[in-house]
C-alpha cells in the first residue's frame, strides 16, 4: 500500500510535468509562428481544437462517465459564449455593437478592473467573465435538470436537445435585443487574437496560449473529479442504477452534480470559443454542433478523457486543415477535377469517419487512457501503480 502511494505521487508528477512542457511548447509556437505563415493553420487548429477538446471532455463526463445521454451541449455553450461576450464588450464599442438596440447591460468586467489594476486587471476580468459564463450555464442546467433528469436514455436526449433549440430561439428573439443583440452578432469583446503579454517593451503573443491554457486547466479539473469518489459514484450509476442505489448512492443528487458540472465546463468552452472566433452568434450554436462534439467523443472513445482530446484535435485538424486542399482542387499533389471542388472535402471527411467507426468500434482509445497504452508492456507493477 505504501509503495502504491509513492508510485501514485510519482505518476501525478510526471503528468504535471508533461502538461507544463506542453504549455511551454504552445507558448513558444505562439511566438514562432505568425498567423499569416504557411503553418499558421496549426495555431488555428490548436485554438479551436482545444476548445472542442474541452467541450468533448465535458460531454464525456456526462455521456461517458455518468451514462446520461444528453444532447443539450450547444445550448450551454451558447449561454457561456453570450455571457462572456456581454460582460467583456468595452463601453465605447457598446453602441456600435448594439446598433439596432439600446444596450441594457453596460458593464465590462475587464475594463472596470483594468482601471484599478492595469493589465493584470484585464486578465483577471477575462478570468471572472469565463467563470461567470460557466456559472450561468450551470445555473440553467440546474433549473432544467430538476424536471429533465427524471427521464432516461433517449427521452433525456430529446428533452435536452429541445432545450438547446429553445435557448437558441430565445436568444435570437428581438424583444431580448437590448441584452442579446437579437439575431445580430456580438463582437469587439475580449478576444484571443488581442491577448498579448508585454515584458520590457517586447510584445509576446498569447492568442493560442490562452485558449489552450483554459482548456488544459478545465480538463485537469474534470480529470480530478472523475478520479474522486464522486467520479466513482458516477461510473457506478452508469453501470447499474439499482445496485448504485443499494450502495447508498443518491441517484438524483449525483446525476444533478454530473449534469451541472458538465454544463459549467460547456459554458466555459462556449466562452472560449467566442474568444477564439472573435464573434458570438446564436445561429452558430445549432444542434449540429452538439453532434460534432458527440462525434469527437465517440471517435476518441466513450469514457476516455485522453480519447476525447485526441478525437477532437484530429477532427478539427482534418476538417479545417488537412482536407482544405480538396476544396482548391489540389490534394497530396493530385489535381482534382472541377466537380470535386467546394464541398467535396466534407464528403471525403464523412467517408473517413465511417471507416474509423467501422474499424475502431469503441473509438480510438476505447475506455482506456493514453498512459495505459504505454504501461501494457510491464503488466503487474504498472497495474498496481494505478490504485
Amino acid at each position: 500500500m505504501l509503495e502504491n502511494k509513492s508510485q501514485k505521487r510519482k505518476n501525478a508528477w510526471i503528468a504535471f510535468l508533461c502538461v507544463l512542457a506542453f504549455l511551454a511548447l504552445i507558448f513558444c509556437l505562439d511566438q514562432w509562428i505568425k498567423p499569416t505563415d504557411k503553418l499558421g493553420m496549426l495555431l488555428i487548429v490548436l485554438q479551436k481544437g482545444s476548445v472542442y477538446a474541452l467541450a468533448a471532455v465535458s460531454m464525456n463526463l456526462l455521456n461517458g462517465y455518468t451514462g446520461l445521454f444528453s444532447l443539450g451541449h450547444a445550448g450551454f455553450m451558447l449561454l457561456g459564449a453570450y455571457t462572456y461576450a456581454i460582460f467583456t464588450i468595452p463601453d465605447k464599442s457598446r453602441d456600435a455593437v448594439y446598433q439596432y438596440f439600446d444596450a441594457a447591460i453596460r458593464f465590462s468586467i475587464p475594463e472596470k478592473l483594468s482601471q484599478h489594476m492595469g493589465g493584470f486587471g484585464t486578465a483577471l476580468g477575462v478570468f471572472i467573465a469565463l467563470v461567470l459564463a460557466g456559472l450561468v450555464a450551470a445555473l440553467m442546467a440546474w433549473l432544467i435538470g430538476l424536471p429533465v433528469l427524471r427521464l432516461k436514455s433517449d427521452y433525456l436526449a430529446i428533452a435536452t436537445l429541445g432545450f438547446a433549440e429553445i435557448i437558441r430561439a430565445v436568444f435570437q428573439w428581438s424583444k431580448l435585443g437590448p441584452i442579446t443583440n437579437g439575431s445580430n452578432l456580438l463582437k469587439n469583446f475580449a478576444r484571443a487574437s488581442k491577448f498579448k503579454l508585454e515584458i520590457a517593451g517586447t510584445k509576446l503573443s498569447l492568442s493560442t496560449f490562452v485558449p489552450v491554457l483554459i482548456a488544459t486547466v478545465s480538463i485537469t479539473l474534470i480529470v480530478l473529479i472523475v478520479n474522486s469518489t464522486y467520479g466513482r459514484a458516477f461510473k457506478a450509476i452508469r453501470d447499474d442504477e439499482v445496485a448504485a442505489e443499494a450502495m447508498g448512492i443518491n441517484l438524483a443528487k449525483h446525476k444533478m452534480i454530473a449534469f451541472v458540472t458538465s454544463s459549467f465546463f460547456a459554458g466555459v468552452a462556449g466562452a472560449t470559443l467566442a474568444m477564439v472566433l472573435s464573434i458570438a452568434q446564436a445561429n452558430n450554436f445549432k444542434s449540429a454542433m452538439t453532434y460534432e462534439i458527440l462525434l469527437m467523443v465517440v471517435l476518441g472513445g466513450i469514457g476516455s478523457i485522453t480519447g476525447s482530446v485526441i478525437g477532437s484535435l484530429l477532427f478539427v485538424a482534418a476538417s479545417e486543415w488537412w482536407l482544405r486542399g480538396l476544396d482548391s482542387g489540389k490534394f497530396l499533389g493530385i489535381e482534382a477535377p472541377n466537380i470535386f471542388r467546394n464541398g467535396f472535402r466534407l464528403v471525403v471527411f464523412s467517408v473517413i469517419i465511417m471507416i474509423v467507426v467501422l474499424f475502431f468500434r469503441e473509438g480510438i482509445l476505447g475506455e482506456k487512457e493514453l498512459p495505459d497504452l504505454f504501461r501494457k508492456k510491464k503488466k503487474d507493477p504498472a497495474k498496481e501503480a494505478q490504485s
Partner: protein, 234 residues
C-alpha cells in the same frame, strides 16, 4: 433484532405482500423460501428502502426504519446483495469494493476492512485490477457479497445468491455465508434452492403469494412433509 410486522406492499394495484411478519434475531441466519412471485425479493427490497410499503412496520433494534431513505438504512447497518449480482461491470474489483464503502468516511478502517474482505475472498484479491464484468459468475457473486460487506453491515440480506451458478460454486457460496455469520454478521437469505438454505439456516419462513404460511427452525422445515413436497422435490 430486525422485526417486520404486518407488512403490506403493492405494485400499482398488484398486492405483492399481504401482511408479512417475521423476525431476524441478531447473529442468526434466517431464510425465506418460496416459489417465484411469492414476494421474497419484495420483502428484501422494502427493508432496504428501495420499495415503498403501503402499511406495516419494520423495526431494527426497536427503531422504526420503514420510510427512511436508503442511505440511512444502510448506515444503520442493513446491507443488500441484490438479485442477479449486479456488480459494476466496467469498474475494477477494487473500485467495486470501494463503492461498497461509499457512505463511510473512516479511511483507515476502510483499508482494514478491505484487507478483511480480501482475506475472506482470496480470489478477489488476485483479481483486484480486473474489470468486474470479466469475472466468472461465482466470482461476481463473491464480489457482490464482498461489496455489501464493505459497508460494515450488522445485517446482510442476500437475494438468491445461488442464482445461475454451478452446484459446486453454490456450495462455496454457502460456505461463505456460514463464514460471514461466524464473524457475527446476521444473515437474511432468500433462496429457491430450499435444500441448501434450510440446512444453513437457524430459522426459516415459507412465503406463499404474499403471506407467511409456515415457520420453524431450518431443521424442522427440512423434514416437514409440505415443504418437502412443494420445495424439496421429494
Amino acid at each position: 433484532m430486525l422485526k417486520i410486522d404486518n407488512l403490506h406492499v403493492s405494485y400499482g394495484g398488484i398486492r405483492a405482500l399481504q401482511g408479512v411478519s417475521l423476525e431476524v434475531p441478531d447473529g442468526k441466519i434466517v431464510t425465506l423460501i418460496g416459489a417465484n412471485g411469492a414476494g421474497k425479493s419484495t420483502t428484501l427490497r422494502t427493508i432496504s428502502g428501495l420499495v415503498k410499503a403501503d402499511s406495516g412496520s419494520i423495526t431494527y433494534d426497536g427503531q422504526e426504519i420503514l420510510g427512511m431513505p436508503i442511505n440511512k438504512i444502510l448506515e444503520k447497518g442493513i446491507a443488500l446483495v441484490p438479485e442477479g449480482r449486479r456488480v459494476f461491470t466496467n469498474l475494477s474489483v477494487l473500485e467495486n469494493l470501494r463503492i461498497g464503502a461509499y457512505l463511510r468516511n473512516d479511511k483507515a478502517q476502510i483499508e482494514k476492512d478491505l484487507q478483511w474482505v480480501y482475506e475472506l475472498f482470496p480470489r478477489l484479491k488476485e483479481r483486484s485490477w480486473q474489470m468486474a464484468g470479466t469475472l466468472s459468475g461465482g466470482e461476481q457473486q463473491m464480489l457482490a457479497v464482498a461489496r455489501a460487506l464493505m459497508s460494515k453491515p450488522k445485517v446482510i440480506m442476500m437475494d438468491e445468491p445461488s442464482l445461475g451458478l454451478a452446484p459446486l460454486v453454490v456450495k462455496g457460496i454457502f460456505d461463505i455465508i456460514r463464514q460471514i455469520n461466524d464473524q457475527g454478521v446476521t444473515v437474511l437469505l432468500i433462496e429457491q434452492n430450499a435444500n441448501m438454505a434450510l440446512k444453513v439456516a437457524d430459522f426459516a419462513y415459507v412465503l406463499e403469494t404474499g403471506r407467511i404460511t409456515l415457520t420453524g427452525t431450518g431443521r424442522e422445515l427440512l423434514v416437514n412433509e409440505d415443504v418437502k413436497k412443494a420445495y424439496l422435490g421429494s
